[in-house]
Symmetry: D2
Amino acid sequence: MFRVGLLAFLDRSFAVKLLVSRDVQPENSIVRVGDVAFGDGNFVVMAGPCSVESEEQLMQCADVIASSGGQLLRGGAFKPRTSPYEFQGLGEEGLRLLALARERFGLGIVTEVMSEADVDLVAAYADLMQVGARNMQNFALLRALGRCGKPVLLKRGPSATLKEWMMAAEYILASGNPDVVLCERGIRSFDSHTRNVCDIAAVPAMKEMTHLPVILDPSHATGRRSLVTPLSRAAVAVGADGLLVECHPNPDTALSDGAQSLTLDQFRALMMELPCRILKS
Amino acid sequence: MFRVGLLAFLDRSFAVKLLVSRDVQPENSIVRVGDVAFGDGNFVVMAGPCSVESEEQLMQCADVIASSGGQLLRGGAFKPRTSPYEFQGLGEEGLRLLALARERFGLGIVTEVMSEADVDLVAAYADLMQVGARNMQNFALLRALGRCGKPVLLKRGPSATLKEWMMAAEYILASGNPDVVLCERGIRSFDSHTRNVCDIAAVPAMKEMTHLPVILDPSHATGRRSLVTPLSRAAVAVGADGLLVECHPNPDTALSDGAQSLTLDQFRALMMELPCRILKS
Amino acid sequence: MFRVGLLAFLDRSFAVKLLVSRDVQPENSIVRVGDVAFGDGNFVVMAGPCSVESEEQLMQCADVIASSGGQLLRGGAFKPRTSPYEFQGLGEEGLRLLALARERFGLGIVTEVMSEADVDLVAAYADLMQVGARNMQNFALLRALGRCGKPVLLKRGPSATLKEWMMAAEYILASGNPDVVLCERGIRSFDSHTRNVCDIAAVPAMKEMTHLPVILDPSHATGRRSLVTPLSRAAVAVGADGLLVECHPNPDTALSDGAQSLTLDQFRALMMELPCRILKS
Amino acid sequence: MFRVGLLAFLDRSFAVKLLVSRDVQPENSIVRVGDVAFGDGNFVVMAGPCSVESEEQLMQCADVIASSGGQLLRGGAFKPRTSPYEFQGLGEEGLRLLALARERFGLGIVTEVMSEADVDLVAAYADLMQVGARNMQNFALLRALGRCGKPVLLKRGPSATLKEWMMAAEYILASGNPDVVLCERGIRSFDSHTRNVCDIAAVPAMKEMTHLPVILDPSHATGRRSLVTPLSRAAVAVGADGLLVECHPNPDTALSDGAQSLTLDQFRALMMELPCRILKS
């Protein structure tokens, strides 16, 4: 009686002819960000503070990330905040600090772009352009990123189905940019115990359907520092291509997302057990 | 033991000093769109096709809407679609057809703007600028609409809390535009029986917290034609300030959202029982 | 491309041969509880306290309910509570008080049965046997109620689909009891602003698929007193067959669910505007 | 502005004095099922068919499970099914087959009890009494299991919060039975791509709050065979105390849940990589 329902779980007919689909390209896409590759079996760790707050804060993070085997530096210069009265990021000054950290520590930069109008500005600094969860279906932004010349990190929307997420990536590919990395970051659910529910099965489920790399953001997925390390291990276990993780020299004073940021010591300890290839020496 | 939980339902402390809050402005805001007023006790019906498809289709709709007491004409010229390969709207040609319908039938125009880059273009035609559910937290777009000089219809995101929705409106007000109408259009839930779950209680709950007008979109909230009329009655029952409803001369051939569009006869029948003030004669 | 999805909204094939289905019985079922009928176009109001707490509390409620046109008295004697340390109800003493109120005020009694072992005991007192939301898929209880000889009020589970809810009713009918009234009481969602999300569209959607009466519980659906009256109006607007509503002489001292209970004055005011046929004179 | 919300993620005040709480008992509970121990650092694999269908089917499973290091045999004799017309299990005949498999292969038995009336019957055969997700808040059943003299496997309800799940366990402990194992089996969400969403973070989050063992059911959590192995690895990664996994000699002919059952070869391959201590030799 419910066989149709069961079959629906397995239905991929919507994806048959999409550029993002494994039916069109069976082998993994390799997305290169400088000398870092996503999708080739490597496990890439991107880390850093939620917001770029100051030169000192950022350099402290970058130093620890580079020396412990992290491959890319994340940090928000333009911050999407629920309230217009919360800290909105340092803007271009934040981008300049990220570029300075890249120069000093040799780490590529991941940072969010929130507006079509900022695509050129952010692309002038960033190595990997991040689309936040709230903008997953900002189609004008996706099209602009399809023409930006830089690889894109596309976060899943908080209530996006896997189909919708694939389709959002399809907008970028269809606009001319094949270099998209997908990032599961938790979905909205009924229990406020964690900030979001980490849909860990989405990682292998997406990798069945698409050839694009898929990574996990355990920080937003849980909202709680103590859960970040176990979830990072789970990311490895399910075959994710990497992690996007928040760390901060002093999380209790962070201007955003302190509760989910690892301390730098916790980050170092996490790196000791992850299967990252150390590229910087 | 769970008293704290119960109190949390009633917590409005986040809203104390917001421009959108009733704590700041106890009386209703009246948002004027031409000679139509939202928030003054009137029940405003905005109707039309999901997408503007052709002059004939749009004029047939506009004729019936105007003659049956509808006050504004809705129609999508820029369409947010899950897939890049679905019909994306007629663009500026669609806006021109809407303007033509306004001229012929005296109906103000509601239409969606999907991109900051299109704000000026859309504002040159529209009387009420619609922000779609997917863009509720596209903060760059919200800020641009705060400076556009036209009133804004802000749809609730499919998984937005009431707080997040109020905060999204706050972005527009804080950017200089006090004329915002809020639209409940269903939230994402676990049952695919209806397209979304119509959170009807959100209408009175929002009106307790904010002085802005709140309307209902029963078409997207249910996705099913047969449920649109009962939900429209419910909108009146809970004190909504109006409706945004889809109708089409021939829903079965619609390029988008046919299953949820009323036929023109069904729309006429609906209007007979709604408490609209007939403004056009 | 998504036509299949749209059709899925309308799929009723699962229901074709069910006893509860309109395909099997096109006309409404009339469920009689004493001289009260559900499903014949009448709008039935069942009201009373969440928990029976004392004779005085219950009689005060019953007096107001009877004199303002309410038709059945609700009150919990066995209470399902999240914690084992919360008030669990008065048990059989509560049932005796309900019977006393019936005698004095001529109101039939609705009360919850939580356990197969209690079915006979509760059936000895109750006129309508309530299955709580947590027990919607307690199939052993449903089968026992199929043989209990009394009509059943079946609440929707907090995350039950409409199909699952119909199937739960089917268990009762298939066990020999055709007298089932369905009750929408809100579903679980992501926003804690209201206790549950009232899925108002479920009322007409269920009535399309099943011939059984469908009523609304606006108290549990919202968890907030101020929203109960607007939602009660919405129940009438969408064609519900009645209401199950909580009221209390002094909600602030209630042993359970005080925040969502109407005062007796609020209840009287609500009754003034509902289309109930006054049966008691 | 949202600090209160962030703190709420970490709030455990509700749990302070519960029997299940780590505040009351900081060290792990060890729950023994025959010579198998949960909670002592061992990783326990329980496997078998969704439903006991025949002697041949069950013995084939048990043989492979025992020889590959599985420690307990699962199999449903009483099956909770959405429709009353679906296969309901073999009942006591199923229990007898399970006991026969125990005798032959030395595996303890896990099986579901759906009704208070069946507690004694099931306890006469089972080594570990399973409470299904639909019955997590069937408080009468929980109390009966508190007095049954056997350890209990308590599945999380499909929309239960972590607090509600802990409270359900508290009912069992408060009724006199300290031997409870908790099982995450996926929660209900908006995407039908997987049957449920596996809330993997619930495992470490629960283990922070309670001293009871917590295991994962990757079969129900995903509903798809291809995702069971990656999710099993994730269970190890996040510190789960074990797995409950479905396997079947021929999943395509299974009377229930075939799509999520591993073949026996897939199960054997999974066992090769799990950190189970082989107890049977």
